[in-house]
């Protein structure tokens, strides 16, 4: 092998970069976050699977309806009336952003800009 003085270090750097996740994680797969569900509310505005997969799209849709289309009407789910708002509807039940939103969002580094403007509930603990 020729030029091994340059090529081998080059390859080592390459492999180290490629395997970065292996040595960065120290072989620790970590805990999957457990989110805290509201104690007093049993039902969400949509089935759990739906809301879990598409809550951001629902919020986006609400936003468009409320702001752009002026469709602010309440909607009813199982006899309860809801307003289309993150701040006043979602967070009404999910009283803790930290224990609900942030658990998954932090784990997967999803950083939506909701809270730049919208007010999160005051954390009680």
């Amino acid at each position: 092998m020729y030029d091994s003085g340059k090529i081998i270090p080059g390859l080592i750097i390459f492999v180290l970069i490629i395997t970065f996740p292996i040595w960065y994680n120290h072989g620790d797969a970590g805990e999957v976050p457990k989110l805290e569900l509201p104690k007093d509310a049993k039902q969400c505005v949509q089935p759990v699977a739906e809301i879990r997969a598409k809550h951001m799209q629902l919020l986006n849709q609400w936003r468009d309806e409320v702001i752009r289309d002026d469709e602010r009407a309440y909607f009813e789910v199982d006899g309860r009336m809801f307003q289309k708002t993150l701040q006043n509807t979602c967070m009404e039940c999910h009283k803790s952003k930290v224990k609900f939103c942030d658990t998954c969002h932090d784990y997967t580094t999803v950083n939506p800009y909701c809270w730049d403007c919208h007010l999160a509930p005051v954390e009680t603990e």
Binding site: M1, D3, P21, A49
Partner: protein
């Protein structure tokens, strides 16, 4: 056409992953076994290939000089990037080549007109879209590290934030999602439209394009359109698990994810056996990574054969008579003429 087979191949790969991942238990094959095999093939194959290259020497110093050489005449200004005379200048040249695709920047398009008259016009599209594609791909790879790393390091978050800075839609659109598709469409389109390129393209030029296109499209579909069962927490757990050798599939994950992952695995495994090795090769090209200093420093050829010139002695032996007659100095005088 040369793109039909690669297209069919990619479609077949999609179907394999789609149908396969729906068979109970096969999720472990597509989610764990194949990715491990693929990354191992990639790393070992890549290194093997580079080592194979390195086993051959660079017998001669053959940089392509694209500018003025170093000259001892002080008013002749050396082009340090295009005719590097030492290692640091070579490093600068290589850096610009690898990072900015400098040679492609020179690209021109030639046309022939009546006369005959040849014209050359600067054509930067290949440079632009090539750069766009490669950098998009790089950013996309970096972005995905958020799924493999726990906690996610700051620089990955910075890249992700930058990529999503337009804050369009929810989930937020990434700039690179658009640019990688744009780049791929251009790179594919020019192979179809440009005559020269259509003729010289091979099936193995189309295959990686389709494959990467498939990867990008399944990724975009998962993020924006078919979110059901694409539970990012479960996916991250699997990804981190893969990186820590404790893989777990803790929820039912959409086939779309397995298709995406399978195509990525195929790309990784295909990489070392294909032209994609240009990623490593670009660093080793002797016309770019050598200094134009072959008159200043002796370059050694390890297999330099032992070849002697036709010797002066035998030359003089053959022509001595004529040389003497014509007053050309000789080493050995003519033998006295035998009377």
């Amino acid at each position: 056409m040369k793109y039909t087979f690669p297209l069919a191949a990619v479609i077949a790969l999609v179907l394999i992953a789609w149908i396969g991942s729906n068979i109970p238990g096969m999720q472990y094959l597509f989610g764990i076994v194949i990715p491990y095999l693929a990354i191992a093939t990639f790393i070992i194959g890549f290194c093997y290939r580079v080592v194979q290259w390195a086993k051959s020497p660079v017998p001669f110093r053959i940089p392509t000089t694209c500018g003025q050489q170093y000259s001892p005449l002080p008013w002749i200004k050396q082009n340090k990037l295009e005719a590097p005379a030492n290692t640091s200048q070579v490093v600068a040249r290589m850096f610009l080549e690898v990072v900015l695709f400098r040679s492609l920047w020179r690209h021109t398009k030639a046309e022939i007109h009546d006369g005959p008259k040849l014209t050359y016009e600067s054509s930067k599209w290949l440079w632009l879209f090539g750069l766009m594609f490669h950098y998009s791909f790089l950013v996309v790879v970096f972005r995905h590290m958020r799924l493999f790393l726990d906690p996610v390091p700051w620089f990955i978050q910075v890249i992700e934030f930058g990529d999503g800075i337009l804050q369009i839609g929810s989930p937020g659109m990434y700039i690179t999602d658009a640019t990688i598709i744009l780049g791929l469409v251009f790179l594919f389109g020019r192979r179809l439209i440009t005559r020269n390129l259509r003729y010289l393209s091979l099936a193995n030029d189309y295959f990686p394009l389709f494959l990467i296109f498939g990867i990008a499209v399944t990724g975009i579909m998962m993020r924006f359109y078919f979110r059901t069962d694409v539970d990012i927490v479960a996916i991250k757990r699997l990804a981190v698990g893969l990186a820590t050798f404790q893989p777990v599939i803790q929820a039912e994950i959409s086939s779309l994810f397995y298709i995406h992952l399978f195509l990525v695995s195929v790309l990784l495994a295909y990489f070392p056996y294909s032209k994609l090795m240009h990623m490593g090769g670009v660093f080793l090209s002797p016309t770019r990574n050598l200094a134009n200093d072959s008159r200043m420093r002796r370059h050694i050829n390890p297999w330099n054969p032992d070849i002697k010139p036709h010797s002066y002695a035998s030359y003089e032996d053959e022509f001595r008579e004529f040389m003497v007659e014509n007053d050309i100095p000789v080493e050995k005088e003519l033998p006295p003429k035998a009377e």
